[in-house]
Amino acid sequence: MENTFNKIIELDDAMKHFRDGMIIMFGGFGGIGTPPSLIDGILDNGFKDLTLIGNDSGFPHIGIGKVVSRGRAKKMIASHIGSNPVAGQLMTDGKMEVEFSPQGILAERIRAGGVGIPAILSDIGLDNDIVTGNKQTCSVGGKKYLVETALTADISIVFAKKADPYGNLIFDKSARNTNPLVAMAGDMTIAEVEEIVPLGSLDPDEIITPGVFVNYIVPSKGVNWKWAWE
């Protein structure tokens, strides 16, 4: 494959951009749409003290759950950790800090980071201590709202069905979920893709994530975990 924009790299080269203590944002929802090879790369290279931002903590052996279960995260920002009991245990034991954000608001905060909006206002969970935490409020038109600040990351990792050499991405069915949002929010974005196709072969009307937001493209080795329903 032509590598016109020098974005196509091997997994090992992608790993050179990671380091301990980083803020990593990951695409996916219950593990579906989370990039399996990049997750393995993070594990194999021993990166730790990570702050992970994404929809949920996956399952113990699925998706980001693999990283969480091995104690590599010092903090998570997620909407729930219910499907990963190890995450709950780490939180209870004080080994991992968890910041909960309502699911749709979390997605909007990630998108806000991705499109350079500093914050959004929200009325979700306004009277709920766990949501409000010590968040600032702002009154507009006599109504009080929470200031939900944008989220960005040092590196975003996403999983796509196809990429062209510019990094234009299309996703597969419900594996799209948070990926297009996460793809915009990283200071650097690495896309793991099932297939790389020649420039010009993706229909410009069908591209979901413009390559503008993608720094590197890594060919996927495929999902190597058993799904919860298997």
């Binding site: 929802f29 219950g30 593990g31 579906i32 749409g33 929809n55 949920d56 399952f59 997620a78 909407s79 729930h80 950790i81 219910g82 499907s83 709950g88 939180m91 968890v98 909960f100 309502p102 699911q103 749709g104 608001i105 997605a107 909007e108 998108r111 009325d123 979700i124 969970g125 009277d127 709920n128 201590d129 766990i130 949501v131 069905k161 996703f171 597969d172 069915k173 419900s174 594996a175 799209r176 979920n177 948070t178 990926n179 297009p180 949002l181 979901i208 999902v223 799904w227 919860a228 329903w229």
Partner: protein, 220 residues
């Protein structure tokens, strides 16, 4: 929920009656997932999932699952004609914009005022709210399917929730194995009774007062 299949299906069937042609409906896990089985053939309803599916169909046959086509709980589904995929912000945009007509979900407790507590058991279970708050606050109609009592026999419909709220004053209807309640500005109203339960029996297992609709329907 420790409930027989037959009873679970009876609850789901009653919930299915609330779904009208053209609606967009979000279903929680558990009994709500049985609701589609009880819709009359030809009902044009689009089932919505928080992870970005509009138009979910039934579970695929074993062996035909697609790992990239799953519901918000991570389990394989199919799609119907007219379905579409979107990212999570748009899926929740549908909810917050009031385009999701109904959500049918389970709960730990509901108060007579419609307060919903279905996400945390302090000191035991703090899994995070997921999309529950947005659904509870913003779906046009919130229907709770749950047992009349918890495993110790304590009423789950209460005067004031003891568990932390998911959202206040958001539930419109409760369907249990014993009865159906509407929650209006005037409080809790019993509208349907599942045979062979009696109103007195329901009263004994409900933690708050309720009024009784003029024509209570008895469902056999």
């Amino acid at each position: 929920m420790g409930m027989g299949v037959e009873i679970r299906n009876r609850i789901a069937k009653r919930a299915a009656e609330e779904i009208k042609n053209g609606m967009i409906v979000n279903l929680g896990i558990g009994i709500p997932s049985l609701v589609p089985n009880h819709l009359p053939a030809g009902t044009n309803v689009m089932f919505h999932a928080e992870n970005g599916i509009t138009g979910m169909g039934p579970s695929p046959e074993k062996g035909k699952e697609d790992e990239n086509l799953c519901n918000a709980g991570g389990f394989p589904v199919s799609i119907v004609k007219g379905a579409s995929y979107c990212d999570s912000t748009i899926a929740f945009g549908m909810i917050r914009r009031g385009r999701v007509d109904m959500t049918i979900l389970g709960s730990l407790e509901v108060s007579g005022k419609g307060d919903l507590a279905n996400w945390i058991v302090p000191g035991k279970k703090v899994p995070g709210m997921g999309g529950a708050m947005e659904l509870a606050q913003k779906a046009r109609k919130v229907i709770v399917l749950m047992n009349q009592t918890d495993k110790y026999g304590n009423p789950k419909i209460v005067d004031e929730c003891t568990l932390p709220l998911t959202s206040a004053r958001c539930v419109n209807m409760i369907i249990t194995e014993m009865a159906v309640f509407q929650i209006s500005a005037h409080g809790l109203i019993l509208t349907d009774l599942f045979a062979p339960h009696s109103i007195n029996e329901v009263r004994a297992k409900t933690g708050c007062s309720f009024t009784i609709a003029e024509n209570v329907r008895v469902i056999n």
